[in-house]
């Protein structure tokens, strides 16, 4: 029997974990190991993927991946033993809590390891501290959804800088800890393990091993401690001074849970500080500990987690043997030896390459590992994962009392009954997205956009009057007002809509709903070679391509990200609505609604066809596995959201201004001067450089019925901003458009406008995410697809 065969509510025990490479390692890292207990929770509305509960949290995976994991039903003895153990743990937990309460009542002191505290290991005159003026660098590492961003924001306030890690499109944030100017903390991507597969994992381990921060702050979700400690153990193996920030303690204790911090500290050998980042509890104490351990370079007291008494000690013997074998190589490579040994046994190719073992050593290593596999009865990766989880289980038993099902969990389950229910998921999704777009583009965004536009209008008017009063040359006047102010101003008008959209989307993402959308849209998107996560950027693309492209940063796979960015231009953005409205009202007034809907559907249909083509050509290969955690629903903090919006707004303004300003000036000059650089009077645009250029390429558009240079010029001006297609046409077709064009030409124009290159701001976003080559590809490919579509429409119209 496999995981796929489980029915809802059924329990099982994992027997073997199939698959290979990154996917298999990801399974193991997420706790899907032989011997682990799982419960099938639900299937997505379309029957795939599935959601299961393991190690106290919810995990989703596709049925095709679940089919690789063999399970068996627990027998009667195992179920009885599990119930007994559960009761025993609950009893032990109650006793632990009672003992602690009694001690607190008597105000008794407890023996406290005191790791990372002043005066315990080091009096001020002792120890081996770094110089006082040394910059204390920290890596902030933790699982996704552990509250890392919230903690980072609490630690740094506004003293942070957003950038990228070189070589990969992974966000990097650096900041200075408030009140400690000689610090620098780097927020690393959320990861589950230090394995060598995803770009986030590679970036994190490279940062830790190569940039050698002075200390690590490992944030652990106290409500999901078993899975979080898996990463902690690997971080401890790096021998870098570390402090654990045990986050969400408010939720843990609020739901009747308990953690014996002293015991945990003793077992892990590093300071453990209970915090709630959202409520700013314990953060000061965390900072004091972090400063101390970094300043005094207090390394973790423990890196050895294998037990010689567990399962015959096979893994213990193998690890220690490998440590001795590779000691000199690890020292030369600058990799902590315990970390190197466990990674080597797992089959980590990056560590293998770095250590550069000779033939004899490699063979010895292989023999050691084969012997371990034989004695332990598990393959190497599973054996190491099992070793880690065995240690975690030991710490858990000694130090953690599991909370009752938390209020947050109960609330999430109630919400999920509607938001991911078989019949309600998709209607709820359509409703929510519809509300977001309506609010962003019609209510809030439109209101703010009108406000900004009036402000820009007032400014433009004032500048216009000033230029007139100063008797400025007409051409320069036109360049400043009609070119720069109107050009840059029209891009600026995007800003309120983008910020509003991002506001709602960040709430959706931080609340945990986006994870659910990816869950139930996965099956549909897989048919076009993408995974569920790609749905969000595509939806945003119906509003504006710029934030759609920016939002693809949340996609974990580079292939998926690239393909999603290339498909978003097919989702017709709102800037094209004036074009549709203009032609539909002029040529198809009786069928306006049908034509508008038809245009959107046509755009999506072409996008699906192109996706199918990409799948067979540029983006061959299987879609990335879909293994994802479904966190509890949470209300995002207002400070975090506000900070994110400010970053996005600043980012957008900086980039849009540089590109748009240059492009605006160039296009205006081309429209205003003839080939001899004489300034053209109004109404003589037909003699402009732009017209000359347009006439060069208008024969290309002739088969599509768009050979008129005025149409070509309008379409070229649409490259700046789609709205300018209509304004340019109004200038160039001064006698009225219905007199100059036929309905067939209007239809071709609509088809071409729907599909051709997005505006320069969108192309700039593509260039930013994928580089120049892909940005140019988008321009030409979209124009080619648009041309074909326009020719097809013309052919069809000639038949009718």
């Amino acid at each position: 029997m496999t995981l796929r065969d489980l029915s809802i509510g059924q329990n099982a025990i994992i027997e073997t974990v199939g698959g290979s490479g990154a996917l298999r390692q990801h399974f193991l890292d997420m706790g899907v190991i032989p011997g682990a207990a799982v419960t099938m929770v639900k299937l997505a509305p379309m029957g795939d993927p599935m959601e299961l509960q393991i190690h106290g949290y919810e995990l989703t995976l596709r049925l095709s991946d679940a089919a690789k994991i063999e399970v068996r039903e627990p027998n009667a003895e195992e179920m009885a033993a599990a119930e007994e153990e559960k009761a025993a743990r609950e009893q032990a937990g109650r006793e632990m809590i009672a003992r602690d309460a009694a001690r607190q009542k008597k105000r008794e002191d407890r023996e406290h390891p005191g790791l990372g505290e002043e005066g315990r290991f080091h009096a001020k005159t002792d120890g081996d501290p770094l110089p006082d003026d040394a910059i204390l660098t920290y890596a902030l590492v933790g699982n996704q959804n552990s509250g890392k961003t919230t903690l980072f924001n609490q630690l740094t306030g506004s003293n942070q800088h957003v950038g990228n890690f070189p070589g990969v499109t992974v966000d990097r944030k650096d900041g200075v800890i408030k009140g400690y100017p000689k610090t620098l903390i780097t927020d690393l991507p959320g990861i589950y393990s230090m394995s060598p597969y995803s770009s986030e994992e590679i970036v994190s381990r490279n940062f830790v091993l190569e940039e050698k921060p002075k200390a690590i702050i490992n944030i652990v979700d106290a409500t999901n401690i078993e899975r979080n400690l898996y990463l902690t153990m690997q971080l401890l193996e790096t021998e870098i001074p570390m402090v654990i920030a045990l986050n969400m303690m408010d939720e843990m204790t609020g739901n009747g849970g308990y953690i014996d911090i002293n015991t945990m500290e003793r077992e892990l050998g590093v300071p453990v500080v209970p915090i709630s980042a959202a409520k700013n509890w314990g953060v000061d104490e965390l900072v004091r500990h972090a400063i101390h351990i970094a300043h005094y370079q207090e390394k973790p007291l423990r890196q050895d987690f294998c037990d010689e008494t567990v399962n015959g000690g096979a893994v213990h013997r193998a690890l220690h043997a490998v440590v001795h074998l590779i000691q000199d190589h690890a020292d030369r490579a600058g990799i902590p030896v315990r970390f190197a040994a466990s990674k080597l046994i797992e089959g980590d190719h990056l560590v293998q390459k770095a250590l550069d073992l000779d033939q004899n050593e490699q063979e010895t290593l292989e023999h050691i590992v084969l012997q371990m596999e034989k004695e332990r009865g598990l393959d190497r990766s599973a054996a190491i994962a099992d070793m880690r989880f065995a240690f975690i289980d030991k710490v858990y038993r000694q130090a953690v009392v599991r909370p009752k099902e938390s209020k947050e969990r109960i609330r999430s389950e109630k919400l999920d009954r509607i938001l991911t229910g078989k019949w309600t998921a998709i209607p709820a999704f359509i409703l929510i997205m519809g509300a977001i777009f309506y609010l962003s583009f019609n209510v809030i965004g439109a209101f703010l956009q009108d406000l900004l536009a009036s402000g820009i209008g007032v400014l433009t008017g004032a500048v216009d009057e000033a230029l007139t009063a100063a008797n400025v040359n007409e051409a320069i006047h036109g360049l400043i007002i009609n070119g720069i102010f109107e050009g840059v101003g029209s891009v600026l008008s995007f800003l309120p809509i983008i910020v509003t959209l991002f506001f709602f989307l960040s709430i959706l993402e931080d609340s945990g709903y986006i994870a659910r959308v990816a869950f139930f849209m996965d099956k549909i998107l897989r048919k076009i070679g993408l995974s569920g996560r790609s749905i969000v950027p595509m939806l945003i693309g119906f509003g504006c391509t710029v934030p759609a492209v920016m939002s693809t940063r949340t996609l974990p796979s580079e292939r998926d990200r690239r393909m999603t960015i290339l498909l978003t231009p097919f989702m017709s953005c709102t800037a094209k609505l004036p074009i549709y409205g203009f032609f539909v009202n002029a040529f198809f007034p009786r069928w306006s609604a049908l034509v508008m809907i038809g245009l959107y559907v046509f755009g999506i249909a072409v996008g699906i066809a192109v996706a199918a083509l990409y799948r067979k050509t540029l983006f061959k290969g299987k879609p990335v596995p879909f293994v994802m955690e479904l966190p509890n629903y949470r209300l995002p903090g207002p400070k975090n959201v506000g900070r994110l919006l400010w970053e996005k707004a600043k980012d957008f303004l900086q980039r849009a201004f540089s590109i748009i300003l240059i492009a605006t000036v160039v296009v205006y000059v081309l429209q205003s001067f003839d080939l001899h650089f004489n300034l053209l009077p109004k109404g003589s645009e037909g003699q402009s450089i732009m017209a000359a250029l347009a006439s060069l390429i208008s024969p290309v558009f002739a088969p599509a019925g768009l050979g008129d240079w005025r149409l070509v010029t309008s379409l070229i001006s649409g490259f700046m901003a789609k709205e300018s297609v209509v304004s340019t046409m109004q200038i160039l077709f001064a006698d009225g458009i219905t007199a100059a064009l036929t309905a067939a030409q209007a239809a071709s124009m609509l088809a071409f406008s729907l599909l051709y290159t997005p505006c320069v701001a969108a192309i700039a976003s593509v260039k930013r995410e994928l580089g120049w080559k892909w940005a140019i590809f988008v321009v030409f490919f979209q124009c080619a697809v648009a041309w074909l579509a326009a020719c097809l429409v013309r052919l069809l119209s000639m038949c009718f």
């Binding site: 990228n164 499109t169 990097r172 040359n473 360049l479 260039k767 930013r768 120049w772």
Partner: protein
């Protein structure tokens, strides 16, 4: 085209703004060390 002092000043300002925008763009492109966020070099693996 007849230009007065104000015209010339405005043209110079526009030119500086355009060149400045170009330099800013180019500068950010060069400044890749993992911190700029706008460097196409960072996209190369």
């Amino acid at each position: 085209m007849q230009l007065n002092t104000v015209d010339i000043i405005l043209l110079v300002v526009i030119l500086i703004a355009v060149i400045g925008a170009g330099v800013y763009w180019g500068f950010r492109k060069k400044k890749c060390g993992g911190c700029c966020g706008d460097c196409s070099q960072c996209r190369k693996k």
